[in-house]
Symmetry: C2
């Protein structure tokens, strides 16, 4: 039995997220189906990030175990022929038997995209959150600086989450603008449930003047979800990459 | 009777192009339907650029005539409530009765996007032409320089076209790269049928080494479609803007 690793990009628009759900199209479900069909045996992948419905990815990571003579590098081509066109394996290779994509330590990078202009842009509608509000990028950048570092991010964790340990490290948080597109790029040691979307929602409130950049400090200190802004919509979020550091 | 102008953005993926065709979804058809429903009378728009199936737009222009007391600026909001989410009017206003979006002189800007990497990126699949070939941008830039200026562009006109006058002026042609995305941006006095897509297809051949940049000069001089490269696929093309200069 060998363990194989996949780097998976997808357009999340037509899926109910990563995780298998009976009777619904999911990324994990499509990967399991393609792998099981290819190998003639029941295969179940383990994913690194269980992205929500509508969230996109350039590089989620998954592993699976199989008894096969197919070289690790070849899975990419064989799977892409079986997968729908909105899921594409970017890389495949054999990995060590004890590599676990969620338990091994990593740095994850996400990007949240906001389209801020008077009228929606149809070609961006599935890949950015639209707002007709004008956002002050410099205010957002000042607020972003408070987020960087090791903090208890309980204020930025959706109420439904079961996780007990809520301290995480954010290595960088960059806000930049390219015409009407604002990109929030965040790299961290891991993220709580909806953490990036709540940070994006809070930064948007700062950008539109509803909050002061300096409030970010007390929002973090409160360790209470009700102090932060709303959870920004899923379509604006994309997982950029996962780097294993262990 | 007054004449109104619309600036229209759309995601061309789900349409059979701009022009009305019986029994098929088209941008023009959707605009006619929304306007006729709004005004309670049969309205037919006249479009500036009859984009092909799958081609996108940030700013195509259309006009229509109507007897109404709705202020020109309000059409935008009223139409966007009736239009599908992949078509959005960016701007609306009253214009002069003799303004014709195809007959009045203008500068049009198109962008052709190429995604050049080992494996397709699902989030770009509908908005860029994918190639696994590596393209040399500097070669493409050298070839692009020959296209700028006033030329007979017959070599870059699809055989089906009825147009007699094939001299056009290209004001600028910029090739730039951002990670795996290559953008070809061209501004001209007007374009022949498929001209931008044939220029893009020819530049791609130069980029992959199948032709020399200097060949561009003799391709133009030949005034023969068979000398140029293939017509690049529609999904990579987007109309950026139309500026009326008259």
């Amino acid at each position: 039995m060998k363990r194989y690793m996949l780097v998976v990009a997808y357009d999340g628009t037509n899926y109910c997220g990563w995780q298998v759900q009976p009777g619904r199209a999911t990324i994990e479900g499509e990967l399991n189906k393609a792998l099981s069909g290819l190998l003639g045996q029941e295969i179940e992948v383990i994913g690194a990030s269980r992205t929500d419905s509508g969230v996109h990815s350039l590089g989620n990571v998954a592993v699976f175990d199989a008894e096969t003579r197919i070289p690790g590098e070849k899975f990419k081509y064989a799977l892409n022929q079986r997968l729908p066109e909105d899921i594409r394996v970017q890389e495949s290779r054999e990995t060590s038997r004890d590599f676990h994509p969620r338990r091994c330590s990593s740095r994850k990078t996400y990007e949240y995209r906001i389209c801020s202009r008077e009228t929606e842009l149809p070609t961006e509608r599935l890949y950015a959150h639209f707002t007709y509000r004008t956002l002050d990028i410099q205010r957002m950048q000042r607020a972003a600086a408070y987020v960087v570092g090791e903090h208890d991010f309980k204020s930025f964790c959706s109420a439904g989450s079961q996780v007990r340990e809520t301290v995480r490290t954010v290595y960088s948080l960059i806000v930049e603008q390219e015409e009407s597109l604002i990109k929030i790029r965040i790299t961290g040691s891991g993220f709580l449930y909806n953490m990036v979307r709540i940070i994006a929602g809070t930064l948007m409130e700062v950008g539109m003047g509803a909050r002061e950049p300096e409030e970010m400090e007390s929002i973090i200190a409160a360790c209470d979800r009700s102090f932060a802004g709303p959870t920004a919509p899923a379509r604006g979020l994309r997982l950029i990459k996962i780097q294993y550091t262990g």
